[in-house]
């Protein structure tokens, strides 16, 4: 293998598994260390820079960082159940305990730059665009069909998971930057909007349409059958405050989980989730399923809905075909009928949560924005520009329904594109990240980070009692970590951003680092091709998704090979090295946001 080029920012970034997996590349270990040292406001601000909604995300994020977290791999075969660091819930700790941070937020721009931006929708995507552009002096108008900003975070995510004050606070921080917010204003013509002379338009209108289920009885029993996301919105707006005693929720995603748990709180004594797929294949996050089951909601799988059964329009139940999963000749999973008689489940109401779609009825197809066959806008995946370069899409409106953190990530990128576009720069040239590398060495075995490794297993977030939370849809279920538990959970983080940096010319090949490394990460061996090399290291490097760090050739002609996979970042290698060939260096990686830093050229005289 060729020596690893560690000057490439992506090399060490990838080692920070959580940050790499986070769509907005939040510097997770950096904020976790701040939480550990009780600097909650600082931790909050680190988050706010990257993901804009730390309090909201600390409760609701889909947390792609956690399955990626190194701690989960490190704990494999080391105890009962390997688990990642509770990254998401630590974020909430920062939000809960930060105190008043308003003085740290940017101020509304002192002078405007004369450029006008329209955002359609006030979901997380649009709000991120607004946040990034407002301090730069852009005039940002946010059009929202609802009265308040927040998008689905406000109208879909139920209050027992996300209190409204948190939304008000974090949406408020953005609108207070001087946004021109137009609530209760639904845009019904893109042509008309384009005619208003905005310099750029950002479409963050989400994926607002719930999929229906056209099976026999649907029309007749319509009064008792609701589309999940419409029903959740009605619950939010107070149009719905009760539900029948027996409720069936159809679907296996997170919307289904929110529907069933909401129904449980609005009078549904006997709520069931019924899904086509197997339990394991359900789209809902594992913890959402757990939470539903914890509230006594059974999840019945391998049942395909056949008909709504009704008595002259009064819904009495549903029938289901029983299926099982089978692999076909090409190894694909298919559901095949078991041949057993259909199953009947009695119910009073059904919530259909079988998927979500995009809809852009208000965008005229002849206004210059190209759409593909499936009705989605044709976009540049990096710049988020449509075929009209000054019209950009982001969030669920761009590539179909995802989640909040993706909407935020899109928002940042779109804001960069807008800023470059309106400064006359090519948007395809994406800005380099800001990278800072700082040695952590303070003394012979003194580091400026806490290198000790905690043996704790994952700490559980305490819950309010079920009897209290099931009584009202407004009582938040999770209570958040207290300071003490937050500290302990923070200790589980391995500081993956503190990198092991190797300087070949200093190494005397004493083997000290190899011997001391608890995880057998390091080998000195003859070089070879990657697959073969992976098999003959101190411990086999079986996780091909994790890189090998290969040095230049050493005096014995061998090379140093480090498997990044399960390194604890404990620094023992660097403590044991007599020559300082290993050093522990903190690698702070930050994506460049809109503003002078994202531009390649000298400003053209415009105030930034």
């Amino acid at each position: 293998m060729k020596p690893t080029d560690i000057s490439k920012p992506s090399y060490f970034h990838k080692v920070v598994d959580c940050q790499w997996a986070c769509p907005a590349h939040t510097p997770v270990p950096e904020y976790i260390r701040l939480i550990a040292s009780g600097r909650y406001a600082d931790a909050y601000m680190v988050n706010w820079q990257s993901n804009v909604f730390p309090g909201i995300l600390g409760r609701t994020c889909d947390r792609p960082c956690e399955p990626a977290c190194r701690r989960g791999r490190v704990e494999e075969n080391n105890g009962e159940k390997p688990e990642p660091v509770a990254i998401c819930r630590l974020k909430r700790v920062a939000a809960d305990l930060k105190g008043d941070i308003r003085a740290r937020l940017p101020r509304p721009a002192a002078s405007k730059n004369g450029k006008r931006i329209a955002c359609v929708g006030a979901g997380p995507a649009s709000l991120t665009v607004a946040r990034d552009l407002l301090p730069l002096g852009y005039h940002v108008t946010v059009f929202e069909g609802d009265a308040k900003g927040g998008g689905f975070m406000r109208t879909q995510v139920p209050r027992f998971r996300l209190p409204e004050e948190v939304i008000d606070e974090e949406v408020g921080y953005i609108l207070d930057l001087g946004a021109d917010f137009r609530g209760n204003t639904r845009i019904d013509s893109m042509k008309a909007l384009l005619g208003q002379g905005y310099d750029a338009v950002f479409v963050g209108s989400g994926a607002p349409r719930g999929r229906d289920l056209e099976i026999p009885g649907r029309a007749e029993a319509a009064a008792h059958i609701h589309i999940g996301i419409d029903w959740l919105a009605s619950v939010y707006f107070g149009h719905v405050s009760a539900v029948g005693k027996r409720v069936i929720v159809l679907g296996g995603g997170n919307t289904a989980m929110d529907c069933c748990r909401s129904a449980r709180r609005l009078g549904g004594d006997e709520v069931k989730v019924i899904v086509r797929s197997g339990f394991e294949e359900m789209k809902a996050s594992p913890w959402e399923k757990e939470d539903a089951q914890h509230e006594g909601i059974p999840i019945l799988n391998y049942r395909v809905p056949k008909a709504f059964i009704h008595d002259k329009g009064r819904l009495t139940g549903m029938s289901f075909e029983l299926v099982r999963a089978e692999k076909d000749a090409r190894g694909r999973r298919r559901l095949v009928p078991t041949g057993q008689p259909d199953e009947f489940h009695a119910c009073d109401e059904v919530l259909v949560a079988v998927g979500q779609e995009n809809a852009f009825p208000w965008i005229e197809r002849d206004c210059g924005i190209a759409f593909d066959d499936s009705g989605m806008p044709v976009l540049d995946p990096q710049t988020f520009q449509s075929s009209l370069p000054q019209v950009l899409f982001g969030g669920d409106a761009a590539f179909g329904p995802k989640n909040i953190i993706w909407a935020v990530a899109h928002g940042h990128e779109a804001a960069v594109s807008i800023d470059k576009l309106l400064n006359g720069e090519p948007t395809a040239e994406r800005p380099q990240p800001a990278v800072e590398v700082i040695s952590q060495k303070m003394g012979i075995h003194e580091w400026s980070y806490d290198s000790d490794i905690s043996g704790d297993t994952r700490h559980k977030v305490p819950w309010a009692s079920a009897e209290k939370t099931l009584k009202s849809i407004r009582v938040e279920v999770e209570l958040g970590f207290d300071q003490q538990t937050a500290w302990k959970e923070a200790q589980r983080c391995l500081n993956c951003d503190v990198q092991t940096v190797f300087t070949p010319k200093l190494c005397i090949e004493c083997d000290g680092c190899v011997d001391v490394c608890p995880m057998d990460c390091i080998s000195f061996t003859a070089n070879g091709e990657e697959p073969e090399l992976r098999a003959r290291l101190s411990a086999p490097a079986l996780n091909a998704a994790q890189d090998l760090y290969v040095s230049a050739s050493l005096p014995t002609t061998r090379v140093m090979v480090k498997d990044e996979d399960v390194c604890l970042h404990c620094g023992l290698c660097a403590e044991r090295c007599p020559t300082g060939a290993w050093d522990m260096q903190k690698y702070l990686f930050e994506t460049s946001k809109a503003g002078p830093a994202c531009r390649t050229r000298v400003p053209t005289g415009e105030p930034a």
């Binding site: 080391n78 004493c510 000290g512 007599p578």
Partner: protein, 351 residues
């Protein structure tokens, strides 16, 4: 040197051996030696060898004297018995322990100061008596613990860190052990575990006095230009005479080697030492040839490493003394004390 304890977490694929232990279970406390010390690599090699051989840690006695090298038993096999003797006195304590309980695996760990200076008298007698043991000298050419004075194994003409030339003749512990009748004599280098681990395994399988001289650079006091025990010097002058594979029992041998390239020596316990020859015509079962080879290399400034000599038919101290199979420490009073009548008879016989 490290303040934090080594984390208990280990690589997910870490294997268990036949006695259900991982390699990490053979570790000891975190070393307090200087970072980069060769001695730590030797500890790692002992750990590896014991794990590979499924040694039960509680059936091992690790004994040492005084010195950085003699501190190392604290850093491996935390569940073994241990005894830290006075400077240079490890061989006698080991001999005594071995006489009391012949069933343990005796691991003597010493330094060149501990064995070639103050303890040389003890060293020679434990070897010539054929005590069944693995005797490892972690040879750095200096008194590491007392800050780097030349030891008796420092080569004539080599210089100290401050540039002082050593005028005295060195003691070659390998040559000495050969002359004294050691039945397994090897030399290794702490910087080459691929060679060292099998040498230790072969010694563990050996019955009799097994001696291994391991060149072990002292990074603090003897790793400079002018030293003949530095990483760089040893790497440049290391002449491996053979490569050893230790095969626990004969039935497992399956690989075929070209005629004449391999010597196999079966030990008393059925294990096989397979030596892939690197030096042409060298016979490791010939004691005189071994001595010649060591001297010849020495005169060229080279360090001969590998398994230099083995006598698999050798007897140990217990056989010399015709002791009972049952270890002394398990003999009860009835067996140990023949009674007044027997004493009477003995006394009569002496009148």
């Amino acid at each position: 040197m490290t303040y934090h304890a080594k984390p208990k977490l280990h690589h997910p694929s870490l294997a268990r051996n036949a006695v259900g232990l991982t390699r990490r279970d053979y570790e000891g406390k975190v070393s307090t030696l200087c970072a980069g010390c060769g001695h730590d690599s030797i500890s790692a090699a002992i750990i590896q060898a014991c794990w590979e051989l499924d040694v039960k840690p509680h059936r091992v006695a690790k004994l040492s004297g005084i010195g950085c090298s003699s501190k190392t038993p604290d850093y491996f096999l935390r569940n073994a018995h241990g005894f830290n003797a006075v400077h240079g006195r490890m061989p006698s304590v080991l001999t005594g322990a071995n006489l009391a309980n012949r069933e343990l695996l005796y691991l003597g760990v010493s330094g060149d100061g501990d064995s070639a200076s103050i303890g040389i008298g003890q060293f020679v007698h434990s070897i010539r008596r054929g005590v069944n043991m693995v005797y490892i000298v972690e040879n750095n050419g200096v008194y590491g613990l007392t800050k780097g004075q030349f030891s008796a194994t420092a080569d004539q003409g080599s210089t100290s860190k401050r540039g002082v030339v050593n005028a005295d003749q060195p003691i070659d512990l390998v040559g000495l052990a050969l002359q004294l009748g050691a039945s397994y004599v090897a030399r290794g280098f702490s910087g080459d575990k691929q060679q060292l681990v099998p040498l230790i395994k072969g010694a563990i399988h050996h019955r009799g006095a097994a001696f291994i001289d391991v060149i072990s650079p002292c990074v603090a006091f003897n790793n400079h230009a002018g030293s003949t025990k530095s990483y760089e010097y040893v790497r440049q002058h290391n002449e491996a005479v053979n490569r050893l594979d230790v095969i626990p029992c004969r039935s497992e041998i399956s690989v075929e080697y070209p005629e004449g390239s391999v010597v196999e020596v079966e030990q008393h316990d059925g294990s096989v030492l397979r030596l892939r020859k690197l030096a042409a015509g060298y016979d490791p079962t010939d004691r005189a040839a071994a001595l010649n080879l060591v001297l010849a290399h020495d005169s060229r400034g080279e360090v001969a490493t590998g398994l230099l000599f083995v006598d698999s038919a050798a007897h140990d101290l217990h056989q010399h003394l015709n002791t009972t199979e049952v270890p002394f420490n398990r003999l009860d009073a009835a067996v140990l004390c023949p009674g007044a009548a027997a004493l009477q008879r003995i006394n009569e016989g002496l009148r």
